[in-house]
C-alpha cells in the first residue's frame, strides 16, 4: 500500500518533470504548438513500473552480497584455479580463432573495434585501476599513435611494422611529457588537466594543417603487410583481427605480470596511501610516471592499429567523449580487474552496434545503463580481487628443514 502510494507519487512527479519537454513542442517560426498528450501517459505508466523495479533492485542491493561473499564467484574460480583456467582459456582461444570464419566481415570489423577498446581499457586500467590516477585525456595518446603511423606512412612510406613500435614509443614519450608537470596534482585537478591535455592534442591536430592535414584528416593509410607481402583489404581485416587477438593476449599477459610485481605493488600502494607509500622508500614521481608511460604505450600501439584498420583518421575520432568511454570501460568493468575490463569493452562497444535497430535510442540507453550500472553495481561487472601470494610452499619448506 505504501509502495503503491509512493509509486503513484513518483509517477506524478515525473509527469510534471517531463511535461514541458515531452508534451509540448513549439515551432517558433510557424507559431505552432504541438501537444503530445500520449507521451504523458507513457511517462506515467513507465515511471510507475520503473519505480517498482527500482525499489526491488535497491532492496536486493542492500540485502545482497551476503551470499555472494561466502561462495567463491565463478570468475574467480575460472581465473585462479588451473583446473578450469586452462581449458577455459583454450576454449576461448579456439572460438577466437574460428570466429572470423563463421561470421560476416561486419562482425569481424566490430569485433576488432571491441578488441581495440579492450586494449585501450587495459592500458588505462594501469593508470586508473592500478595506480589510481584519474586520466580523462587518455585518448590523446591513442591519437598520438594513430597520427604517428598515418604521418610516417604518408610522408616517408614507413610500414605498419616499423610504426607499431614507434607509435608505442611516441605514446610513452608523450605520457612522460604530460606526466612530468602534472603528476604533482591530485584527484580531480589531475583529471581536469589531463582532460585539457587531451583537448590540446586534438586542437593542434585540428588546426595545424601543415603538420596534420587538419580536420580533413589523412586518407588511404596503408594496410599492414604480411612479411613484406601486400595483402588485400579484406584479407587485411582478417589479419588485423588476429593481430588484435595476439595483442590482447600480450596485454593481458603483461598487465597480469605487472600487477603482481614489485612495480605493480608500488602502484597499488600509491593508490592506497601516497604518504605511507613514500615513507616506504618508493619514489612517487617515478612510480607514477611509469604508470602513465606504460598506459600511454598501449594507447599509442593500438592507435597505430586503429589507423591501419580505418585507413582514414581525422581529429574527430579523438574527442573527450572517447576518453569518457574508455574510462567507463575501466570503471564499469571493475577497476583493476582484467576480466571485467574485457567484458565491459565488449558490452560498451558491441552493445551500441547491436542496438543499431534502435539507433535513435542508442545513446539514451547507453547513458542510462551507465547510471544504472553504477547505482546497482558500483564495484563494476567484476570486482577486482587481488591475487594472494603463495607462502604455504615456503612455510612447508621451512618445516622440512
Amino acid at each position: 500500500m505504501k509502495n503503491l502510494k509512493q509509486s503513484i507519487l513518483i509517477s506524478l512527479w515525473f509527469i510534471f518533470l517531463t511535461f514541458p519537454l515531452m508534451v509540448i513542442r513549439v515551432n517558433t517560426v510557424e507559431q505552432e504548438v504541438e501537444w503530445r498528450w500520449m507521451n504523458m501517459a507513457f511517462i506515467g505508466v513507465g515511471t510507475f513500473v520503473c519505480s517498482y523495479i527500482w525499489r526491488y533492485l535497491m532492496a536486493r542491493k542492500e540485502k545482497g552480497g551476503n551470499e555472494e561473499e561466502s561462495k567463491i564467484s565463478w570468475h574467480q574460480t575460472l581465473t585462479t584455479e588451473k583446473k578450469y583456467a586452462i581449458p577455459a582459456a583454450a576454449l576461448i582461444l579456439v572460438i577466437a580463432f574460428i570466429f572470423p570464419h563463421i561470421v560476416t566481415e561486419y562482425r569481424i570489423n566490430t569485433m576488432i573495434s571491441a578488441l581495440i577498446y579492450v586494449v585501450l581499457g587495459l592500458g588505462l586500467n594501469i593508470v586508473v585501476g592500478l595506480a589510481g590516477l584519474l586520466d580523462l585525456g587518455y585518448v590523446a595518446f591513442y591519437a598520438v599513435g594513430a597520427y604517428s603511423y598515418a604521418l610516417l606512412n604518408h610522408h616517408f612510406g614507413l610500414s605498419f611494422w616499423a610504426c607499431l613500435p614507434l607509435g608505442a614509443l611516441l605514446g610513452a614519450f608523450f605520457g612522460i611529457l604530460l606526466g612530468i608537470p602534472v603528476l604533482r596534482l591530485r584527484g580531480d585537478y589531475l583529471a581536469i588537466v589531463t582532460l585539457g591535455f587531451g583537448e590540446i592534442i586534438r586542437l593542434i591536430l585540428e588546426n595545424w594543417n601543415e603538420f596534420s592535414f587538419g580536420p580533413s584528416g589523412i586518407a588511404n593509410i596503408s594496410n599492414p603487410t604480411f612479411f613484406g607481402q601486400e595483402i588485400s583489404r579484406s584479407g587485411g581485416i582478417l589479419f588485423i583481427y588476429y593481430l588484435m587477438i595476439a595483442l590482447v593476449i600480450f596485454t593481458i599477459f603483461v598487465v597480469n605480470r605487472l600487477q603482481n610485481s614489485r612495480l605493480g605493488r608500488s602502484w597499488v600502494a600509491l593508490r592506497e596511501d601516497e604518504i605511507a607509500c613514500q615513507a616506504m622508500g618508493i619514489d612517487r614521481m617515478k612510480t607514477k610516471l611509469a604508470a602513465f608511460a606504460l598506459g600511454a604505450t598501449w594507447a599509442g600501439m593500438v592507435g597505430v592499429i586503429f589507423a591501419a584498420k580505418t585507413s582514414f583518421i581525422n581529429p574527430a575520432s579523438f574527442t573527450f567523449l572517447e576518453s569518457a568511454i574508455i574510462l567507463s570501460i575501466v570503471v564499469l568493468g571493475g577497476m583493476g580487474s582484467i576480466l571485467g575490463v574485457i567484458l565491459a569493452a565488449f558490452v560498451l562497444i558491441l552493445l551500441p552496434e547491436e542496438l543499431r535497430a534502435f539507433s535513435e535510442y542508442r545513446m539514451l540507453i547507453f547513458g542510462a545503463s551507465m547510471v544504472l550500472m553504477m547505482v546497482f553495481r558500483p564495484q563494476g561487472i567484476i570486482a577486482n580481487v587481488r591475487r594472494s601470494y603463495e607462502y604455504h610452499g615456503l612455510d612447508r619448506a621451512e618445516e622440512a628443514k
Binding site: 605480470r257 614489485r262 612495480l263 615513507a279 616506504m280
Partner: protein, 260 residues
C-alpha cells in the same frame, strides 16, 4: 658511550609565523630507545615529519650517521630518499595499504631494497624470480617476528587494531632501517596489547640491532622501555634525561604529567 645515529640540531619549523617546533636538539645513539613526549599540539608529530622529509625544516640541521658511515645532512630530502638511507617510520593514524594483504604490505616495504624493473616484471627472469622469492620470504619472516602469521593473507583493513599497529612496524622494518621512528605505537591499545608491544619493541631492538625513536602518551610504556626521554611543550624542549629524572622533573609534571 655509543655513537650517535641521529643528531638533530636546533630544528625549527614554522607554519605561517607560528613556530610549531622551536629550536629543538635531539640525538639518538646506536642501540638506544629514545622517547619524545609532550602535550598534544606540542609539536612532536611535526618534529617527526621534519626529520622524515614530509615537511622541510625551516631552520636547523638533521644529520644521520648510519653505522660505519659518515654523517650526512638530510634536510629537505624527499621522504623516500630518507627511508632508503635507513630511517623508517610508522604513523600516528595508521596508514596501511588497506586493500592489500598483510604480506603485501610488508612486501611494499621491501621496495627500496629490491630493484626489479618493468622489463624484469614482464619477462620475469631468474634474478627477478629469485628476488621475488626472497621478498616473500623476508616479508613472511617479519610477519612472524611481530606475530602476525595467522593474518598473512588477510586484507590489512580487516585486521584487528592491535595487529594493524604491529603490521605497520613490520612494514617499516622491511626497509632495513638502522633507526626506527614510531609515532604513538600504543595509541588505542588496551593494557594487554601495550604490554605485548613493549616486549616487541625491545625484541626488535635486540634482533635487528637498531635504534628506536618513539612518540608516546602511554607513560608506563615510555618509562619501561626508554633509555632516554625528551619532553617538548609549545614546540620547545623543556627536559631531557632518563625516565627517572623525567618523572621527578617539576617542569614536566606541570606541563604534562599532572600531579597525582
Amino acid at each position: 658511550m655509543a655513537d650517535k645515529v641521529l643528531d638533530v640540531k636546533a630544528l625549527t619549523k614554522t607554519f605561517g609565523g607560528l613556530k610549531a617546533v622551536d629550536s629543538v636538539d635531539l640525538d639518538v645513539k646506536k642501540g638506544e630507545i629514545v622517547a619524545l613526549i609532550g602535550p598534544n599540539g606540542a609539536g612532536k608529530t611535526t618534529f617527526f615529519n621534519c626529520i622524515t622529509g614530509i615537511y622541510t625544516p625551516t631552520e636547523g640541521d638533521v644529520l644521520i650517521i648510519p653505522p660505519g658511515e659518515d654523517p650526512e645532512r638530510i634536510n629537505g630530502l624527499k621522504p623516500n630518499k630518507i627511508t632508503s638511507k635507513g630511517m623508517a617510520r610508522t604513523f600516528q593514524n595508521i596508514r596501511l595499504f588497506g586493500n592489500m594483504t598483510a604480506l603485501e604490505n610488508v612486501m611494499v616495504g621491501c621496495h627500496c631494497r629490491t630493484k626489479a624493473n618493468i622489463i624484469g616484471a614482464i619477462f620475469r627472469g631468474p634474478s627477478t624470480l629469485k628476488e621475488e622469492r626472497e621478498t616473500i620470504q623476508k616479508s613472511y619472516d617479519l610477519l612472524k617476528e611481530v606475530g602476525l602469521t595467522e593474518f598473512v593473507n588477510e586484507q590489512a583493513k580487516n585486521l584487528p587494531y592491535g595487529a594493524q599497529r604491529r603490521l605497520e612496524i613490520a612494514r617499516a622494518m622491511a626497509t632495513d632501517p638502522f633507526l626506527l621512528l614510531l609515532d604513538e605505537p600504543a595509541a588505542g591499545m588496551n593494557p594487554q596489547e601495550t604490554r605485548d608491544l613493549d616486549e616487541l619493541i625491545t625484541k626488535i631492538r635486540e634482533d635487528y640491532e637498531l635504534s628506536i625513536l618513539l612518540i608516546e602518551h602511554d607513560m608506563k610504556l615510555v618509562m619501561n622501555i626508554s633509555d632516554r626521554i625528551f619532553v617538548v611543550d609549545y614546540g620547545k624542549k623543556i627536559a631531557e634525561g632518563t625516565p627517572r629524572e623525567i618523572k621527578d622533573n617539576p617542569a614536566v609534571i606541570k606541563a604534562y604529567l599532572g600531579e597525582d
